[in-house]
């Protein structure tokens, strides 16, 4: 069994679990620290991984995961490829509002713009949001953490807004202008 699915385990009360997947394993630890420190009302657990599929040994101890976040560093082609490979191991139920993409270094040159476009096309085809994060300053990390927390709380059902993950994702999903749009 290779696919990660959200409904294998029963969620715990007042708890949300986030899975951060990043090939370089650099931004994810700082983001995790920022997320865990900000959330005071409920318990947030963060799991860090390098790629999917996740190791089989952890299957029993792994809790119910509410949101899967793929972190892509646009400066590295390998990061993008690793993300696309990992996407194949994700169960289809996650694509209904429980998936999010975070990209870093989006403003660094022409190559990153192309990669950003491909990430956005991928996200648009799956109806998922894309968050551009700035990972080199404290403020940037905090901002990304806050935005992820908002989406996480809706996915886990902890949010005060009465909405579901699927509905939120229709509002936040990425859209890409069509290629024929010249203007």
């Amino acid at each position: 069994m290779a696919l990660l699915t959200p409904y294998r385990k029963v969620p715990e009360l007042n708890t949300a679990t986030l899975l951060l997947v990043e090939n370089e394993e650099q931004f994810q630890s700082r983001l995790a620290d920022a997320i865990v420190q900000r959330e005071k009302d409920s318990t947030v657990h963060v799991r860090l991984a390098r790629k999917l599929p996740l190791p089989v040994e952890n299957r029993e101890t792994r809790p119910h995961i509410d949101l899967v976040v793929f972190i892509v560093n646009l400066l590295s082609e390998r990061s993008l490829q690793a993300m696309e490979n990992s996407l194949n191991h994700l169960g289809s139920d996650y694509f209904l509002g429980k998936l999010c993409f975070v990209v870093t270094d989006a403003r660094r040159g022409a190559v990153t713009q192309e990669r950003l476009l491909s990430v956005r096309r991928l996200a648009a085809s799956h109806r998922c949001p894309v968050i551009c994060a700035e990972h080199q300053t404290e403020d940037g990390v905090t901002m990304a953490a806050m935005r992820l927390l908002t989406i996480l709380k809706v996915s886990a059902g902890l949010s005060s807004m009465s909405t579901t993950a699927l509905y939120l994702s229709t509002l936040t999903r990425c859209t890409v202008p069509s290629d024929f749009d010249e203007d």
Binding site: L19, V36, L48
Partner: protein
């Protein structure tokens, strides 16, 4: 003071930072305390040098005393050039009983036998290191103090570290070292670096080594991080880190700058037919350079960028204590390829 002495003094004073001037001159012990106090250490260096030269001339200091200052400076700041390591082989029975005085007498005697004009100064430090400064002349001219060779030897170990040796003096120095330490031969250890302490630590194994163990310390025990953050691939990462530390060591690693692999093998690619058929050797040089090479290798392995187990080509830098390798075709196919570096 003659011209050579002034030049050497000028060179040393230029290199010493202002803050350390006073302590270095005090360690030199050739100027009285009043003279030291009368110098203004905040002046621009050329002005300071003039004052210093006038104090030295008051005391009638000569070239010999200035070379002593140069030696004090080098002992405090050994990283002034590239150090090369050599190893002595085949110790005779009484090699371990050679003490400093015996060694010095024998060394100077052997050098003076072959070169008439050579100027040698030695000093023994508390950690057992013997520093030797050699200014070479030849049978007709006086020693040139502007290009001295520095040699560091730890008595009772077979290791010698050499700085600034010219090829024409190599055989004289080697012969003197071999005879005065009561060994039979000396060979180059193929280890060189700007930092003396780095090559000393590698050869004498004074860095923190890690040995293969069956016990696995989990990452959770070692990093007391937030209990709410868990890593999925913790086991994998721990295993990679252990492998990296076994190959390169733990903690602070000795600072090497380069590793050079000289290939003298035949071309073994599968695409280019013209290169494949040649019988002659495909010569190439692979050079790794970094501000701290061992640290970068260790990080490559523990981050998963280089595949494990660590290839013996890389781990023999620490295991064998060398950073210059010549790879021939005689060894098995695996060892004659360049180190695998997959991104």
């Amino acid at each position: 003071m003659d011209e050579q002495a002034r030049t050497i003094l000028q060179r040393i004073i230029r290199k010493i930072p202002n803050k350390k001037l006073e302590t270095t001159l005090r360690a030199w012990d050739h100027l009285s305390s009043e003279q030291l106090q009368s110098l203004d250490y905040a002046q621009p260096k050329w002005l300071f040098l003039e004052n210093l030269i006038s104090r030295c001339e008051e005391n009638r200091l000569s070239l010999k005393d200035v070379t002593k200052l140069e030696m004090v400076f080098h002992i405090d700041n050994p990283n002034q050039g590239k150090w090369h390591a050599c190893q002595l082989f085949q110790a005779e029975d009484d090699a371990l009983s050679v003490n400093f005085i015996q060694f010095r007498e024998q060394f100077i005697a052997h050098l003076e036998e072959v070169i008439r004009h050579v100027s040698v100064r030695t000093k023994k430090l508390e950690d057992g290191a013997v520093w030797i400064r050699i200014a070479w002349g030849d049978n007709f001219s006086k020693p040139n103090h502007l290009k001295p060779t520095y040699v560091v030897h730890y008595l009772q170990t077979p290791y010698v570290f050499i700085l600034n040796l010219m090829p024409k003096h190599k055989s004289y120095l080697y012969q003197a070292l071999v005879l005065s330490t009561k060994h039979v031969s000396i060979k180059e250890a193929h280890l060189s670096s700007k930092s003396l302490s780095a090559i000393r630590d590698i050869l004498m194994r004074q860095y923190q080594q890690v040995f293969p163990t069956n016990q696995e310390r989990t990452l959770k025990e070692r990093n007391a991080s937030n209990p709410k953050i868990e890593k999925e691939h913790a086991d994998c990462a721990e295993r990679r880190h252990q492998m990296a530390c076994e190959a390169f060591g733990d903690g602070v690693l000795p600072k090497l700058e380069t590793a050079v692999y000289r290939l003298e093998t035949r071309y073994r690619g599968n695409s280019n037919n013209t290169l494949n058929d040649k019988d002659e050797l495909f010569r190439g040089v692979v050079k790794f350079s970094s501000s701290n090479l061992l640290e970068s290798f260790r990080h490559c392995v523990s981050a998963g960028m280089a595949e494990g187990p660590v290839t013996p080509l890389l781990s023999s830098i620490t295991q064998k204590g060398r950073n210059y390798f010549v790879i021939n075709d005689k060894v098995t196919g695996a060892a004659s390829q360049t180190p695998a570096h997959k991104t």
